[in-house]
């Protein structure tokens, strides 16, 4: 059974259907690519899954349990964590602080234990700091630990955003265009890290524009156009289907 399942999800803004009747299965351990032209509903899809929007119709099901209608923090606690299309970070925080501010779901101890400063809370804190350093080291950000997050280059800011999401212990990671505004090297740097995250057992849903990125790491691709799913399958095969080419480039005109 699919880990994450969308059943006939529709999202209307007024009378405009940003998503219409979307069915989608995300299998455990895969990297699913979601592509489509601008305005095709890719980001809306992420917003619906992460709980930022409620679907107008249909259901989102995670591990056999309905999650649509829950708040974003509840969905995050269940293990579905997203990143944002722009660099959304904590204002004024350093890299280390940003990671610590994202550590809410790492704590086993309750608020009371934190308030009373019990041993379990102190142990938890040690573990969290350890985890932060481990992640920063693994993903090449250790040298920037004490720098202001906003001072990092664009690519590293995106990477920090992904690491902050990892601090929430995701089972499914929703990445909203992680390589926008990057040159090829930067994009491949991020792609390498996404692969690594996936190998450690995190299922990834990747919304992307960059076809090179999609074809290099995804196992399955879903194509959206005007809120409809128009194709699904192997990346290389799907990209050559006429309806997909039409959605991206317009109708072929014979001269």
């Amino acid at each position: 059974m699919a880990l994450l399942k969308l059943e006939r999800v529709t999202k209307l803004f007024g009378k405009l259907a940003a998503l219409e009747d979307i069915n989608l299965d995300v299998e455990e351990g895969e990297i699913l690519g979601i592509v489509g032209p601008n305005g095709s509903g890719k980001t809306t899809l992420i917003n619906v899954i992460s709980g930022y929007y409620r679907p107008t119709k249909g259901e989102v099901i995670f591990k056999g349990e309905k999650i649509s209608g829950l708040r974003p923090d509840q969905i995050a606690a269940k293990g579905i964590v997203r990143t944002f299309q722009s660099n959304v970070l904590y204002e004024g925080a350093t890299v280390l602080e940003s990671m610590l501010l994202s550590s809410h779901l790492q704590y086993q101890s309750t608020d009371w234990e934190a308030f009373l400063n019990t041993k379990r809370y102190k142990d938890d804190f040690e573990k969290v700091v350890g985890r932060v350093l481990e992640l920063l080291k693994e993903y090449d950000l250790l040298n920037d630990t004490f720098l202001p997050a906003k001072g990092l280059s664009h690519g590293f800011q995106r990477m920090l955003g992904i690491l902050m999401a990892l601090m929430a212990n995701p089972k499914v990671l929703l990445l909203d265009e992680p390589t926008t505004g990057m040159n090829h090297e930067e994009a491949m740097f991020v792609v390498g890290h996404i692969k690594k995250i996936n190998q450690q057992g995190v299922t990834v849903v990747l919304v992307e524009h960059n076809m090179k990125v999609i074809s290099s790491i995804t196992t399955k691709v879903v194509v959206l156009d005007f809120g409809h799913k128009i194709a699904e399958g192997q990346p290389r095969e799907v990209m050559n289907r006429p309806e997909v080419i039409q959605a991206y480039l317009g109708t072929e005109v014979m001269v």
């Binding site: 923090d73 501010l101 779901l105």
Partner: protein, 342 residues
């Protein structure tokens, strides 16, 4: 290198030593000076300081409460009504005032904090005025504009030693000292633990925090309720201290005063900043009431806020002058540490 290490030791130890010395001096202060004037300034500073700590805690979650005096009013009126009208002893009435202020803060919080931001400020402002108007007009319970007069709490006997609130101001001073110590400890512990970190995250970027698993409402309500409880207790003690409560004691001006105390003192330190801010502004306004110019304290307070915002930007206040001072003093050794290779 040695100087460098000393610098680090001084830097971490000096604030602690000075804070300890200040607490010690304050603990034996009545032995140094037990004049009613001095002690009442300190007692009032402590009371308003607790309210300012509450304001700072709410500000940590990014919300700007403009009706904190209303919680002092609730605490104060509960204490007065219970002791004077219903004959409840001091301690139960005192604790009840904190509990009730907390319950009201919780109920207001779960409704109002859903919107947050500017709306929260405006609704808390309106709430403060509502409380004042209800108190003024609900004459059968609150005695309206005439207010309620209180007798000093009954003497507490410990063995042969009797603490008598009727004959001396010193017991009030120590009561304030304990109340500030307990509330300060609670606020400080919340602020420095993971909870304080979560508050800061919620303030810095609520949407991001929520998507990383932080229930926004829960933490906003925690801050607002804890602030409500201790502000209520401060109000109850304040009413016993001035032995009268009228609707005029807790109005919009007092809410603004609490806000100013927190900001002028410096929000970087929840306890120290609030207490220093409260002491500074209370002392200033206390002396200004003797200046024969009508309402001059409003003018001076306005000027103080403008000065603080201009010269101590980004949430720093009087308390940050202290660390700036030490940074200057130890500047040379700092450089020495940085460049020494030995």
């Amino acid at each position: 290198m040695i100087i460098g290490r000393r610098y680090i030791d001084y830097k971490s130890l000096l604030p602690k030593i000075v804070a300890g010395a200040v607490v010690l001096v304050l603990a034996i202060f009545p032995a140094i000076d037990h004049s009613v004037v001095t002690l009442s300034i300190l007692i009032s500073s402590g009371i308003w300081g607790i309210a300012a700590m509450g304001f700072t805690l709410i500000l940590r979650t990014g919300q700007f409460s403009m009706g904190q005096a209303a919680f002092m009013a609730i605490g104060g009126y509960v204490a007065a009504i219970l002791t004077v009208k219903l004959g409840v002893p001091f301690w139960p009435s005192f604790l009840a005032s904190g509990v009730l202020a907390g319950v009201v803060a919780f109920l207001i919080g779960i409704v109002v904090l859903r919107v947050g931001g500017t709306y929260f400020s405006i609704i808390t402002l309106a709430f403060g005025e509502m409380v004042r108007i209800v108190i003024t007009n609900w004459e059968s319970v609150t005695r309206g504009a005439a207010g309620i007069l209180l007798r000093p709490p009954a003497p507490i006997a410990i063995g042969n030693f009797e603490i008598n609130f009727a004959t001396s101001i010193v017991p009030y001073y120590y009561f304030m000292f304990l109340l500030v110590a307990i509330s300060g400890l609670v606020f400080w512990q919340i602020d420095r633990s993971r909870i304080g970190g979560t508050f800061r995250g919620v303030a810095a970027n609520p949407m991001l925090s929520e998507h990383l698993g932080v229930p926004l409402m829960k933490y906003r309500v925690i801050a607002f309720t804890v602030a409500g409880v201790f502000t209520g207790l401060a109000g109850a003690f304040h009413v016993h201290f001035i032995s009268v409560v009228t609707p005029l004691v807790y109005g919009l001006w007092q809410s603004i005063q609490i806000m100013m105390m927190s900001i002028v003192g410096g929000i970087s330190s929840i306890v120290g900043g609030s207490l220093i801010g409260a002491f500074a502004l209370y002392t200033v306004s206390n002396y200004l009431t003797r200046v024969p110019i009508f309402n001059i304290q409003y003018l001076v307070f306005g000027a103080v806020v403008v000065l603080v915002v201009l010269f101590l930007p980004r949430g720093t206040g009087i308390i940050d002058l202290w660390s700036r001072f030490w940074r200057k003093v130890f500047k040379d050794s700092d450089i020495y540490e940085e460049f020494s290779t030995d």
